[in-house]
Symmetry: C2
Subunit: 363 residues, 2 copies
């Protein structure tokens, strides 16, 4: 039976989160084996299911059924520029839904045109990661989402500003009261993150060719993509890029070629933990929608996906890929582009400011 | 018959565009008179129809039927940050659909955090204006739309940059070839404006309470809103704020209180024409969705709608409004908020960059 064969595989991947196991269990219930008269999985599908799992198909419907109002509020906040000091920058500025949850810039541009220190990761599927930010300093999307609002390089607001903005508009006050009805003080800064996190949790992108392949359609990948998947596994990419998000779990010590050349390398997780073992250590990025979330690496210094594959294979796995292998892996990576929920692309109409709404600050 | 009574009224308003007359003619065909057994228009409705007209209800459907591909391309371009030099700023940055086609800032923030000289007008219903920009220097939305892309304070691009960006992506090349199939060179800079203009032409916002009132529903306005409409007409606001957009036609000499105080007043249309009569002359803004398109006046110096009404009544009409009159007019103005087409709020998924796509420039 399939789960007997895949289960040990799943366990052997260090970064598997409990979520993946739950998803895998769900998967097995309707991805029937040959004894049910359905088509057997191919060997390649089974090998892939040993290190990853299809994305849940019902995350959106399930989320909306269980907490639609919270998600709706989170979406409003995601698109709300008045959370920023300037009134210009929203989460969507750097995590643009039209470009797969990123800004496609090396590093983001924030308040007063300041540059951030690292490439902005996509919000798509971020809820599947074991931790948030390149240095993993926040545990989940709820705690992550409220940090850039306060970062003086990004949205440059204060908690007081955010609560004054939201508290000035009856629609937001009503929504917080409804969504956090059981709390004594519904409008606290933490709840901004709870709502944003609820929205982020529905930002999964199933139905990529690879996702369909994992779900049972052996023809969802082309021959070249399958060869790419095989090379991906042969050289060992999945040892870090495993789990449902193909990354987002483990940490790895990594310097980009640009950093090595300049002699100025980001200290990564060391800045958070002070642990020498974490010097230049970064969260392994997810590979889902990787073809759209360029430029690559934590400093956004490489624009080419093929070049990135060569760099990472060489530096992390000590593998010199042939040109053919590189092209095959790139073909496989392009088969990781899934579907953004239509709901996330529908911009909300934001409530009207009132005389009490803080005015934008440009400096 | 209604059209006999309203027609002279329409002619007496100087800024009526041919479009309004066409719309009015269409209106009369299905807004039947009492002899058809339908309810007669009230006197207040008839007076209002003498200086304005309901917005066409079928602009969206009609546009999509006649040129869906052009509108679709225009929407992509509207949300396309790669048209800007930085790769960060799109039309939607300053004309945010979530906030009624404006940024709700005094003046816009553009490339390198530079401030624009004037408040950004809304793109909603802009296609109904007789000219574009505060100084009316462009005749239509097609010619207007391509200017901010090149403005070094705004998107800071060049025509070459824009054509290189669009020409680098097969999806855009295909779309331009389909939309401009009868042209020898479909991808020319002017056609960026043609597509953007097609999208803007569906950005009308019918079904405000006042729009419904004009279309025949006498109960669509509350008593206070009706009193406001009466005061609006009594003091003569409609002499400039007439036409379907309640503005967007005439020009008026105007200094804001902030300008008078600073002694530095925008020369307005004079800078374009050199005509002394145009010194400090500005296009009269549309009042549609005015409650959402704060802050007000060409320098965005006034946040309160009530204060703006007092300033304009005093400076343009030499009228000192009572507090009651002011509140009534404000109530009427709040009844001018219509419905943004859902289509315009649905963000497009943008095509993937290629190695040929120009890289973002941050300075």
């Amino acid at each position: 039976m399939m789960h007997l064969r895949t289960h040990p595989g799943l366990k052997s991947v260090l970064i598997i989160s409990p979520f993946v196991l739950v998803m895998a269990a769900l998967l097995f219930s309707h991805c029937a084996g040959p004894d049910d008269g359905e088509e057997a999985l191919t060997g390649l599908q089974e090998k892939a299911l040993a290190f990853t799992a299809p994305l849940p198909e019902d995350a959106f419907e399930d989320g909306m059924e269980r907490c639609e109002e919270r998600i709706e509020l989170g979406k409003m906040l995601f698109f709300e520029p008045r959370l920023s000091k300037s009134g210009l920058i929203s989460c969507n500025t750097c995590h643009n839904m039209s470009t797969f949850g990123v800004d496609q810039l090396p590093v983001s541009i924030g308040h007063m045109w300041q540059k951030g220190p690292r490439n902005a990761p996509t919000v798509l599927n971020a809820a599947l990661h074991n931790s948030q930010f390149w240095d993993g300093r926040e545990p989940d999307v709820e705690s992550q989402a409220i940090m850039p609002i306060l970062d003086e390089l990004e949205m440059a607001a204060t908690e007081e500003h955010v609560l004054a903005v939201l508290g000035s508009m009856p629609e937001y006050v009503d929504r917080f009261e409804r969504v956090f009805a059981d709390e004594e003080d519904p409008m606290v800064y933490e709840n901004v993150g709870v709502a944003l996190g609820a929205f982020e949790r529905i930002l999964l992108t199933p139905y990529s060719p690879f996702d369909n392949f994992l779900r049972g359609d052996a023809d969802a990948l082309s021959d070249k993509e399958k060869q790419g998947l095989q090379v991906f596994m042969d050289v060992g990419c999945q040892s870090c890029h495993g789990g449902a998000a193909l990354g987002g779990g483990a940490f790895a010590v990594f310097e980009t070629p640009a950093e090595r050349e300049s002699g100025e390398s980001d200290l990564g997780r060391f800045d958070i933990t002070g642990n020498e073992l974490h010097r230049h250590s970064f969260k392994v990025p997810s590979l889902l929608n990787i073809a759209q979330t360029y430029p690559y690496l934590h400093d956004g210094s490489v624009w080419s996906l093929g070049e990135t594959v060569d760099i990472v294979a060489r530096d992390m796995l000590n593998e010199e890929l042939t040109e053919e292998q590189n092209e095959q892996i790139v073909a496989f990576l392009k088969a990781l582009t899934g579907e953004i929920p239509a709901y996330a692309l529908e911009k909300p109409i934001l409530p009207e400011s009132t005389p009490e709404t803080p005015r934008p600050g440009f400096d």
